[in-house]
């Protein structure tokens, strides 16, 4: 019994001040982690410490505070690279979000190197951030956007990947973990197939990196994008991982200060990555506080977080599955999944389920989850989505299940 509690409670709730707040007068049950994660006190403290004790800009100051801020900023890069197992020949660029990272790839690589008739391969389960930039760059360059056939719940068979890739395929962009179903496509296998065909692999790691241990050296992707705010870090900080040689080939994405070697009236020459992609004053306080998020996640252990999510997911799936009229959008046999569960209650609009849960202090998301093509593929006008993270417990799952039961009864 005690073990079971331990198994479904990492004992970290006290680290997250928001969890002691009431929502609609009820204790908060936060199950919208797929959208963003709550922040532990240590991350808040790190941000405050910089703002209160330093506040200086980076890179250009000749004074102590600026030097210290620069050191902290540069250290954050070293830390995030270690956190994801960045290989020697890779680099991590700080962006403002996974969305910006994805656009950098599509424009600074895609718009430069794609030719008419080239193929970009992706899937219908992608988040809009990993699909619209490719639609636009395909239209601009005359490249063709092709979709890997998927199963009814978005299942991806690597064999179909091979069949969708032709010898004009330059890019295969696929999510590492669906933000709708939690499915984790076999990214490594897909990368092997893509590389064998001479294509580059873009992995949307927005969910993957936040919820599972990731080693980029093993993953073998060419580009990976993710966001700080989904991994206990501040908003306004995203990441673009890429092989250094690719960053070298790419044009800068934004132009401005702190990225240049020399500027004359008529032209500028640019520094190497990462500076090349980080002009202007960055989100200094955010990047510095990020380090505290990494410290925090490392102290807990990403494998323990993933294990916890496995158990919470299983519990939620079982209990919700027992409610007649509840449809779970669970892919078939796709191996391990991340802690995300989409469902609908027959005859009840997802927003109404969401609002009913809200009135009991339970935060979920209802709607398209920025994945309209996937919704259309599944033939649904939206889903309710519960998504777990390290501070969730069996009690949260039970509250969710009870809330869904009540919503169902209420609308019947």
């Amino acid at each position: 019994m005690i073990d079971q509690v331990k198994d479904t409670d990492l004992g970290v709730r006290a680290d997250f001040p928001v969890l002691s707040r009431l929502m609609r007068g009820k204790p908060l049950v936060y199950l919208d982690n797929g959208a963003t994660s709550l922040k532990p006190q240590s991350v808040i403290d790190a941000e405050v410490a910089y703002l209160r004790d330093n506040g200086a800009t980076i890179h250009r100051g000749v004074y102590e505070f600026s030097e210290r801020a620069t050191t902290m900023y540069d250290d954050a890069r070293v830390r995030i690279k270690r956190f994801v197992g960045c290989p020697e020949d890779g680099e991590v660029v700080f962006t403002k979000s996974a969305t910006e990272s994805s656009n950098i790839i599509a424009r600074s690589w895609g718009a430069k190197f794609l030719r008419p008739g080239d193929r970009v391969v992706t899937t219908e389960i992608e988040h809009h951030a990993n699909i619209i930039p490719w639609q636009e760059v395909a239209r601009a360059t005359g490249a063709e956007l092709a979709f890997i056939p998927i199963g009814p719940r978005g299942e991806i068979d690597p064999g179909d990947v091979a069949r969708t890739i032709n010898d004009r395929t330059r890019i295969v962009a696929v999510t590492g973990m669906s933000n709708v179903t939690g499915a984790m496509p076999a990214v490594r296998e897909i990368a092997q197939i893509a590389h064998a065909a001479g294509a580059l692999v873009v992995v949307d790691g927005a969910q993957l990196v936040s919820h599972h241990p990731v080693n980029l050296a093993e993953l073998d992707a060419d580009f990976v994008i993710w966001s700080s705010h989904k991994m206990c870090g501040p908003t306004g900080v995203g990441f673009l991982y890429a092989r250094k040689c690719l960053l070298e080939q790419m044009d800068p994405f934004l132009y401005g200060g702190d990225m240049i070697v020399k500027v004359t009236k008529d032209r500028a020459t640019y520094a190497q990555a990462p500076e090349k992609f980080e002009p202007g004053t960055p989100n200094i306080s955010g990047v510095i506080a990020l380090t505290a998020a990494i410290d925090y996640l490392e102290a807990i252990g990403m494998d323990r977080i993933a294990d916890l999510e496995d158990r919470l997911l299983a519990r939620a799936e079982e209990a919700l599955g027992e409610i007649p009229g509840v449809t779970l959008y669970v892919p078939d046999s796709v191996g391990r999944r991340g802690g995300i569960l989409s469902f609908n209650v027959d005859g009840v609009h997802p927003h109404d389920v969401g609002s009913m849960l809200d009135s009991e202090g339970i935060a979920v998301r209802a709607g398209f989850h920025c994945a309209q093509p996937f919704m259309r593929h599944m033939g649904v006008g939206g889903t309710v989505r519960a998504s777990f993270y390290l501070y969730n417990t069996a009690a949260d799952v039970d509250a969710l299940v009870a809330g869904v039961r009540r919503a169902k009864e209420f609308f019947q």
């Binding site: 609002s355 009135s359 398209f368 939206g382």
Partner: protein, 149 residues
Amino acid sequence: MNLGDDLYREIILDNYKSTENRKSLDDATFSQEGFNPSCGDDVTLYLKTDGDTITDVTYDGMGCSICLASANMLCNSLKGATVAQAEDLIGRVKAMLVNQEQPDFPDGAEDLEAIAGVSKFPVRVKCALLSWNTLHQIVQEIKSKPSDR
């Protein structure tokens, strides 16, 4: 237990479940689709007018309970009204939902008071307003037409 009392009053559920007005009108004088990209609510209004009078109103589409209940109330409260009265009603609904003013509705439209509580849920205000914004488009269309009809 407070099952979202403010949001889901009995009267809303009744209007949501009522199917009487939920159909297209083959002989509609005006029809207009309204779409809420943030949640997918999609409602089409059908109006039949005779001179200045709205003789029939129906809706169809998909949406949440708030959206469809609001559309149903719209239909109930507009049958037999003039275009000017419709316009006035749009103003009152917006005043209640957007500006959180005290509801104040004429006879036959009192049901609308039931959605006053939605104003406390900003995300759902759009749902409640969808059909009213769509009606607003139709009213603009009517008013821009030469009055020889």
